[in-house]
Symmetry: C2
Amino acid sequence: MALIVQKYGGSSVATPERIKAVAKMILDTEKAGNQVVAVVSARGDTTDELIALAKQITDKPPVREMDMLLSTGEQESVALLAMAIIGLGREAVSLTASQLGIVTDEAHTKARIKEIHPERIRDELRKGKIVIAAGFLGVDKDLNITTLGRGGSNLTAVALAHVLKADVCEMLTDVDGIYTADPRIVPDARRIDEISYDEMLELASLGATVLQSRSVEFAKKYGVKIKVRSSFKESKGTIVMEETSSMEDIVVRGAALTKQEAKLTILGVPDKPGIAARIFERIAEKNVNVDMIVQNIGHGGKAEISFTVLRSELPDALEVLNKLKTELGAEAVEADPTMAKVSIVGVGMRNHTGVGAKMFRALANEGINIEMISTSEIKLSCVVADADGERALRAVHKAFNLGNG
Amino acid sequence: MALIVQKYGGSSVATPERIKAVAKMILDTEKAGNQVVAVVSARGDTTDELIALAKQITDKPPVREMDMLLSTGEQESVALLAMAIIGLGREAVSLTASQLGIVTDEAHTKARIKEIHPERIRDELRKGKIVIAAGFLGVDKDLNITTLGRGGSNLTAVALAHVLKADVCEMLTDVDGIYTADPRIVPDARRIDEISYDEMLELASLGATVLQSRSVEFAKKYGVKIKVRSSFKESKGTIVMEETSSMEDIVVRGAALTKQEAKLTILGVPDKPGIAARIFERIAEKNVNVDMIVQNIGHGGKAEISFTVLRSELPDALEVLNKLKTELGAEAVEADPTMAKVSIVGVGMRNHTGVGAKMFRALANEGINIEMISTSEIKLSCVVADADGERALRAVHKAFNLGNG
């Protein structure tokens, strides 16, 4: 008998009807011959509502009490889901963090799991019960309630799958898997059957919000097999797993578009050691995240440095650059807030040549100008004008034949 | 420095504004030179809303999961109140049942406290923190969340006051104390300064809902001094305490009216042993609570038995009596659903004579007919027509001069 950890997100349990539907899915999984541990998030907008409530009490809610407050959302979900399963005639038990034995450090609102004591879970499974586990939560060594931060429920699911030696950790969500590109932009985008942890990590960093980097990293570290599938309809889903040699036959696994990018350039800076360090230290002090960086050596011992940031962080970055312009004796600062980034990801890139040329050609054929290029071992990104972004994504998706995998 | 346990009910913390007002009251109590442990209930209608939610999931929500669900109400309250205090610049910590060390039996939804391990509370107080304790909740020996049933938060407060050896357990509520009668009916009703546990128990059984019998019994058993006062305005409140000899100088402490009573009579039953037992066993099987019972020996070896029940339970009681009429060969069954009961309570009754006569005279002077009478050591009750109830209460209240104590 296989043991499956399933994670249901907030939208999957938003209403009593959906909770009952989830209960049925869990029973179906069990009837197929599996033991089930279901990890659940807070329902719908509960967490946002609780945060709003706290803000009505005080401008800066203390983090320990915030965790105490937020934990009620998950606790409500697990109780209701357990009720729904029991209402269908099966035995189930809801367990919250201290009962699950999930011990974290004391970093409230962004705690890290330190250890898990799964004796109670094993005990309940042995008694034949379906275990409904509160996601997102932990307790520190003094039994204070902690929360794991963004994507915390996914992390709970992967961590429990690891310690329980589950056969698979299923992420039930409102999409039926990971796609070769966003289907809202690329109509012939195709669900991916299997993807490696590294590819998934790159896609997550490019905005694939179904799985956050943190839970994928954890899964990679401990070899937990993840399956992403829909909680609303039948689907084979996508398996996130160790890289296999056959995966390298596919050059590009998926493509992604990130909008809301901005490009900054500082022109005519002295071409000497320490300049780049000075610029990006100052940018970092403002808590601005820099994505892509390109440096060109110009003429006469002068260099130009371009980089991209989130559009929302452009004003802060610009303020820093304008100050640096004077300090460094640079010639000019340019900024363009209307940028986008199109990327391709695939472990096959390591062993295939001509990948970049193919991408650049696809964009050129569409008359799209490339502003910046960056490459990593399994990713290739081009910055283009925001207005060209969606067309660029479709062109690249087609060039690598991702729609007919 | 005195240690005060304060209990705030659901209406006192219903809105963010009220939570902030409660936070100020706690700080005021502290500034007056006290340490404070505040016990809090779920906000406003939260508990009812959660019950309604559970009913949408399944007709009969399992009790363990119900407790898991309901506990979120208190947990929300304590987190918000702790935030409010911290927002005012003082240190506070919210603690839920497992952190409070409140261990109960496994009787979900009506658990009994077995032991309390207050080390964590003492520790937080020693650190100078105000402790905000979740009322109503406990954990069983396996860390399952339990609830203490109706009036549970009051019980939490009294139990914590006992184990912490608090100087007083203050019940902050929407009334400013215990009154000689319901002020909505008797305009000159007066707040009582001091009342004995036994008198309070009688008044509680007569419908004084501010304090339930259970918490008063607990307080009596362990000698915990309770003070009932308003969370909305300044007031001396009422102290519920051990009986003192001076308390007996007052014959009657308070008067109460219970409406919604119904009277049943079975006439002409054979006057032989076991008949009353047979009748009330059968009534009990229907889960009908019988209040007052009067048996008269009539003529020719026939008896008549009258008793009162809640009006809502009259149909069930009547069904039983009509069957018994045939079985016992009784002559008739009569029922009157329009009854009320007026009662006086006071430990002074033990040593004073003529109390009954004075009450009956007061009712007679108003032309009010007494249907039934029952007496206990410190209580005297008369059943009257519902329509006469409020007038009867006012007459009795006046006869014993309760308005000018």
